[in-house]
């Protein structure tokens, strides 16, 4: 700490250059934070997927429906613990931009299947008693300022021209930080009865299966697909994580895209900061010689230059990460398209690690150059 004023003084030597370098680093780390949040929003479902859950969808495509009767047949397969189904409703509230996910489900088995959805017992009971009842996650309830008892009108072009009316009987929380609390769930019996003729009555979107022994998940997935082989609606069964991944891959390999962009950004920042540090050291070879003359050891000179580059990276990176956190702390900025959008602690820590790496890598060469300076030669350059 006693050298802090020396390090700080050197950074203040060329204020504009330091400021511009700091801003470059800051922008890079803001971008890092935002891209990590977007990646999390798009592929976060993979990490949150239950290891004991399988998803069964139509073999051709997720938009092809499956018969409701499959549920009983799946329940008979040895090793299957629970089966529930969901169907994509695709409705909007008041305005097309007010999109969020709504799915019809069977309340009791659905809540048993998804313990990450936390609903007060009284609201759970109300949902079981109310045919038009719906529950919604805290994020969407706050977004539209809904409260229990409200009547919610939703229009869905998929299921006819009518406006569906739901009674909001519950607002659920997520058990984990990453749990998506934007969807609305309502009762399948109400949905099936009310959907128009020719709109797939008796058909559902996909099934979720809970297996008794997660280590047998692959074997059970095979059994399920065999059960419906050569039927009009063949199935494709996969772990919930793989299903979420396939869903995200409709956009592309998000992780690779994010890594590519960040790689380019950090490579540029490495060059910018490295050039700044090299220039800063070249400009004061003589001063480094004076420090050595008065007794600073080669290791101390190395440490001073590294401290400078690490301070620069730490300051710029730290401010960038803080700004990224501020920009993402309120969650999804799109109003429902990226429900899992958040800057995870793990990504924040990765950012801190990147700050350190940036500081060390950009400072190492100039620091070694300063360390190896011969005092007499350095003093001649004054």
């Amino acid at each position: 700490m006693k050298y802090a004023h020396l390090v700080w003084g050197n950074l203040k030597r060329k204020k504009l250059r330091t400021l511009l370098t700091l801003l470059s680093i800051l922008v890079a780390f803001v971008l890092f934070g935002l891209l990590c949040s977007i990646r999390q929003a798009l592929v976060g479902g993979v990490e949150l997927a239950g290891a004991d859950r399988l998803v069964v969808r139509h073999k051709v495509s997720i938009i092809q429906l499956l018969p409701e009767s499959y549920q009983a047949r799946m329940e008979r397969i040895p090793g299957v613990d629970l089966v529930v189904h969901q169907t994509w409703f695709g409705g909007v509230y008041q305005d097309p931009k007010n999109f969020f996910m709504q799915n019809p489900v069977q309340p009791e088995p659905f809540l048993a299947m998804h313990p990450e959805i936390v609903l007060p017992p009284a609201q759970r009971d109300a949902w079981l008693k109310t045919r038009t009842g719906a529950i919604v996650g805290r994020t969407t309830a706050e977004r539209f300022q809904w409260k229990v008892g409200d009547r919610i009108p939703i229009r869905s072009p998929i299921w006819g021209q009518r406006t569906w009316e739901f009674d909001l009987v519950g607002i659920y929380e997520g058990r984990d930080k990453g749990t998506d609390t934007t969807p609305m769930f309502f009762r399948y019996d109400y949905f099936d009865e009310m959907r128009e003729e020719g709109r797939g009555r008796g058909l559902v979107g996909w099934y979720t299966i809970r297996v008794k022994d997660p280590s047998r998940a692959a074997e059970i997935a095979r059994l399920v697909d065999q059960e419906f082989e050569n039927s009009p609606a063949e199935t494709k069964t996969e772990p919930e994580g793989a299903f979420a991944q396939a869903w995200a891959r409709q956009i592309g390999n998000i992780t690779l895209i994010v890594a590519g962009i960040l790689g380019a950004v950090f490579f540029t920042i490495l060059l910018v900061t490295g050039s700044t540090m090299s220039q800063a050291v070249r400009e004061r070879i003589g001063e480094l010689g004076v420090l050595k003359a008065i007794g600073f050891t080669p290791a101390q000179v190395l440490g001073l230059v590294l401290a400078e580059s690490c301070t620069l990276a730490g300051l710029g990176g730290g401010l960038g990460l803080a700004l990224a956190w501020l920009l993402t702390v309120n969650g999804d900025p799109t109003g429902g398209l990226l429900p899992l959008f958040n800057f995870r602690t793990a990504d924040l820590l990765l950012g801190v690690g990147l700050c350190v790496v940036l500081g060390v890598v950009t400072g190492l060469l100039p620091a070694l150059q300063a360390m190896r300076l011969r005092v007499a030669d350095a003093l001649r350059r004054l």
Partner: protein
């Protein structure tokens, strides 16, 4: 050349240079700067080292200060053979024994006068309060207590050199090495610096070796030696 340090406690000399040669390699040519040179400086002496440009004065001063190593011969200061020390040990030794005063002051422009003076003390185990006490004393000795918070760019050349001297003496070094300390100053400021060096030598017993090519400056020293073409003599070169 012996690789071990030879301690000579009975030696009355503070600086003993024996058979020192220094050769630099320039392109493919060897340039002999110092040739079999011997010099003894007793404690408490104020020695002026004179000679024309390129005579090797600064090279000799660098050897005595442990900034460079001789090609041959030995350099013993305060009983310690310094030409065989490792870079790290030499740096520690310089911090303990040597104070440098440079022609162009060589202050850190980003630090205030007091922070510049404090620099050598950062290498000691002194706490902040003790360091500040030493800095205040050193600045008082050079008459610059009132300029402690000023940056070098706001000080005159003479004041900057006095800060440089304060930095040189703040650790109470065994030996003060001055490389043309008045070379960049006008006569009046130069005289003030020479008065200061003379006072440090006479009143505080500081041993000083000063490189200069100014006879006016060398007249303040207690002894003057002359260097020409790498050889020392007690008489000026004609």
């Amino acid at each position: 050349m012996s690789t071990t340090n030879e301690t000579q406690p009975q030696d009355s000399a503070l600086v003993r240079i024996e058979g020192v040669e220094k050769t630099f390699r320039r392109a493919s040519e060897d340039v002999h700067v110092l040739a079999r040179l011997d010099l003894v400086v007793p404690p408490g002496e104020f020695l002026a080292l004179m000679g024309p440009s390129g005579s090797g004065k600064s090279t000799l001063l660098n050897l005595i200060g442990g900034l460079d190593r001789p090609t041959q011969g030995s350099v013993t200061v305060a009983g310690e053979r310094i030409d065989t020390l490792s870079d790290r040990r030499l740096a520690d030794w310089r911090a303990r024994h040597i104070g440098f005063v440079f022609q162009l002051y060589n202050l850190m422009p980003v630090l205030t006068a007091e922070r510049n003076v404090e620099l050598p003390l950062l290498l000691t185990h002194l706490g902040k309060a003790e360091r500040q006490k030493h800095v205040a004393t050193a600045l008082a000795m050079v008459g610059l207590s009132h300029r402690a918070k000023h940056y070098p760019r706001t000080l005159s050349g003479g004041e900057q050199q006095r800060v440089g001297i304060a930095r040189g003496i703040v650790t109470d070094p065994t030996l003060l090495l001055c490389d043309e300390p008045t070379g960049d100053l006008d006569r009046k400021a130069g005289d003030e610096i020479l008065n200061l060096l003379q006072a440090l030598n006479r009143e505080h017993g500081k041993t000083i070796i000063m490189v200069t090519h100014d006879p006016h400056a060398s007249a303040r020293a207690s002894r003057t030696v002359y260097l020409n073409k790498g050889r020392l003599s007690n008489e000026p070169v004609s």
